[in-house]
Amino acid sequence: MDKATIRATIANRVAKEFKDGDLVNLGIGLPTEVANYVPEDIDVTFQSENGFIGMGPAPEAGQEINNLTNAGGLPVTIFKDAAFFDSAMSFAIIRGGHLDCTVLGALQVDAKGNLANWMIPGKKVPGMGGAMDLVTGAKKVIVAMEHTAKGDVKILSECNLPLTAVGVVDLIVTEMAVMKVTDKGLKLIEINPEFTVEEVQAVTGAQLIVEDDLIDMK
């Protein structure tokens, strides 16, 4: 699979998790692309943690507004029923359980639902931004990422990078599979028919529990 197909596969599958009326926060990078795949028959509102709901796609060239950017600093548009607020309200929404779903990337994620996505000691320390708040506060946490990082395993039995939060991840969506975090460990619930269970397991650092009625990735 080429990069574009990988990203499209993941983004498309994540979008199927949303329900009508959901409030969703998408992380920067791949998760942002999920917005392009929301089914037309449901109404999903996107929040931007720098202070508004009702975020729309990027504007056409020349239509950018200086004071209207997403949390990554890129120009965006808004829908007509948008509302702006300050950072305290923005994080009250995020931390108060009002966010139905947050979609983020990960450096590592593990079978206990632990997530590491904000620093690599001695190498890269960008900071957590709103990530710790988002995964602690959202009703559903979806990790959307490539299954491996240039071959290195990212899905582990236990993260060894500094954590973003403990036991918060609900679902992991990669180009190869969809995995659910359960009390017993990672359950493989959907698989991309281009791969076998063995192939997925081979690049996964945690033992996968294969769902009895394993289905093709939606």
Binding site: F52, G54, D81, F91, A92, I93, G96, T136, G137
Partner: protein, 219 residues
């Protein structure tokens, strides 16, 4: 996600014994039509959270006067003779708490905080039975968040999606309660199409609102 409904539909899921937040300050900014409907339906044994119990014939005070309230958490009951009477005869439990503490407790529930660390009430009866914490050499009370099953609030304008704008001093506790209940029902003086409110000047973002009814008594 159609939120606009009749008053009857809006309160259809209210049940005896629920915890109810009611907006308003001495009745200003209270959802009178929703209160009418609750009285009419006789929903009782309510635990009510409100700034004050208003007057016997106004706002949340009417729920008290109709003996639908079994417990009230509030900062002031002095303007409602019914509250005092029922408190003394034992039919109504009254928990008095400082107004600013109630505001922060409601906000804390809405904002996902575990509690409020406040100096208000230290050394008074408000401290009784509560956890305290010392920080930087000063003693504080730890007040727990206040959450409700249902909040009934009043706004001046709502758009079809539920973005709200309040009017003058009728705002008071309404925006806070909108954040802190499982079901949030708004009584708006006026309902407008989406896009009619300026996104830069919305007081309550629509995501907090579940049901909208058109009001009339206020404003």
């Amino acid at each position: 996600m159609k939120k606009i409904s009749t008053v009857e539909q809006a309160i259809a899921n209210l049940k005896d014994g629920m915890t109810l937040m009611v907006g308003g300050f001495l009745g200003v900014g209270a959802p009178e039509l929703l209160i009418d409907a609750i009285i009419e339906k006789g929903i009782k044994d309510l635990t009510v959270i409100c700034n004050d119990t208003s007057f016997p014939d106004k706002g949340v005070g009417r729920l008290v006067a109709h003996q639908l309230v079994k417990k009230v958490i509030t900062s002031h009951i002095g303007t409602n003779v019914e509250t005092g009477k029922q408190m003394h005869d034992g039919s109504l439990e009254v928990v008095l708490s400082p107004q600013g503490t109630i505001a922060e407790q409601i906000r804390a529930a809405g904002a996902g905080l575990g509690g409020v660390i406040t100096p208000t009430g230290v050394g008074t009866v408000v401290e009784e039975g509560k956890e305290t914490i010392e920080l930087n050499g000063r003693k504080y009370l730890v007040e727990l968040p206040l959450k409700a099953d249902v909040a009934i609030i009043q706004a001046n304008v709502s758009d079809h999606k539920g973005n709200l704008v309040y009017d003058l001093s009728a705002r008071n506790f309404n925006p806070l309660m909108a954040m802190a209940a499982d079901l949030v029902i708004v009584e708006a003086n006026k309902i407008v199409e989406s896009g009619q409110l300026d996104p830069n000047f919305v007081h309550t973002p629509h995501i907090f609102v579940d049901k909208i009814v058109e009001g009339g008594k206020n404003g």
